[in-house]
């Protein structure tokens, strides 16, 4: 006879490793949040009271205003997304609203509008749409920026600290090493 533990390897947090990796075929609790697996398609509204990782497809609305929403690299969302923080690694066609922060990872493909007090775009992220920069009101001037590390995407070769000659050569437009 097999013990259950023999069949199901557990992650460090004591949950099934498959669920921890986000490959669960159905919504399931995974370390304080739920995961919509890559084979799941949802048409309609999604709401709840916990963090959510989306690796599947959603058409409708995602309303988790008090919680974190992550659209994973396999996720494809045609919906407006509301969350406390919204992180995009996959594809979104819709508007993103966050009470705290929106992060578009380098693999993100987003078409829609963004409204959050803080917006971070990684190099390589493809975004088409509008960025509302006073979503937090005048007192909370939004911080819009990029991740400090530039290790991925086209920007990987950008010269953040151009050689001293760059400023001197700007009139001649001399090429700098990438």
């Amino acid at each position: 006879m097999f013990k259950k533990d023999d069949n199901e390897s557990l992650s460090a947090e004591g949950r099934p490793a498959q669920a921890a990796a986000g490959r669960s075929p159905a919504p399931r609790k995974s370390g304080g949040g739920a995961t919509i697996g890559p084979s799941i398609k949802i048409k309609g509204d999604v709401s709840g009271d916990e963090d959510l990782l989306i690796q599947g497809q959603i058409e409708g609305k995602v309303k988790l205003g008090k919680h974190n929403v992550t659209i994973g690299s396999d996720g494809h969302v045609k919906a407006d997304v509301h969350g406390r923080t919204v992180v995009v690694e996959g594809q979104v066609e819709g508007d993103l609203h966050a009470k705290e922060q929106i992060i578009l990872r380098h693999s993100a493909r987003v078409e829609g509008s963004i409204a959050a007090p803080r917006v971070t775009l990684e190099d390589g992220a493809v975004f088409r749409g509008g960025i509302e920069m006073d979503a937090g009101g005048k007192e909370a001037k939004p911080a819009v920026g990029k991740r400090p590390e530039m290790g991925q995407g086209v920007g990987a070769k950008r010269d953040d600290n151009p050689p001293k000659g760059a400023a001197q050569d700007k009139e001649s437009g001399k090429s700098l090493p990438a």
Partner: protein, 219 residues
């Protein structure tokens, strides 16, 4: 034949690691046009920026320092078959026209870098007609136009370094024939705008700074 373990470890020395594929060539140029376009920009409470280029993290960060809203159009479609112009050329006209209801006459700065080079005259006219509709009277438009016989087969990415310098990221060394766009032709294309400044730069680029006419009637 299997290598002994020691030898296999040796082959993993740093010399054996293949070099990374070459990245884009990055050139940094001065941009008197951008400097001029940003001079006297509206305050952040009212400044809305229309960027016809692709999303670039540095540009978003730069614009966020003075604007309240940024619209990124990415007008040069890398996939012509998906364009709004019937697959003939490039462009995403519907993305601009979708803004009419909410943002008509609201943008005060337009960044139009490299766009005209990749559009036909007809496409450019339609695009600029929409842009003019979206701009406030007096809005500034900064255009970068290649004045050389050839241009990159894939449009460059432009990255703002500061208010007077732009980095050109060239994804390819392949060249295409460039359309002939003398200043008079560009001035005509920029319908609804009046060219106030133009700068010819040594690397074959012509920068224009134009201002949205107070009265503009679509032709």
């Amino acid at each position: 034949m299997k290598l002994p373990w020691r030898s296999r470890v040796e082959t993993a020395s740093p010399e054996a690691i293949p070099p990374e594929p070459p990245g884009p060539v990055v050139d940094i140029y001065s941009s008197p046009g951008l400097e001029e376009a940003l001079r006297g920009k509206p305050n952040e409470e009212s400044c809305k920026v229309l960027d016809l280029g692709p999303s670039v993290a540095d540009n978003v960060e730069f614009v966020s320092s003075f604007a309240s809203y940024l619209q990124i159009i990415d007008a040069i479609d890398r996939n012509p078959s998906a364009s709004d112009f019937g697959g003939v050329g490039f462009g995403r006209l519907s993305a601009l026209q979708a803004l009419f209801d909410k943002h008509r006459r609201s943008f005060s700065l337009v960044l139009m870098w490299d766009v005209l080079n990749y559009l036909s005259i007809d496409q450019a006219e339609r695009l600029l007609q929409s842009v003019a509709e979206l701009c406030l009277p007096g809005a500034r438009l900064h255009a970068i136009v290649f004045a050389t016989n050839t241009m990159a087969a894939i449009p460059n990415r432009y990255r703002i370094i500061d208010n007077a310098r732009i980095a050109y990221e060239k994804a390819t060394t392949e060249q295409l024939g460039a359309p002939d766009l003398p200043p008079a032709a560009v001035g005509k294309l920029l319908q609804g705008f009046r060219v106030e400044h133009s700068f010819v730069l040594q690397h074959g680029v012509h920068e224009y700074v134009a201002s949205r006419k107070r009265w503009y009637v679509k032709e």
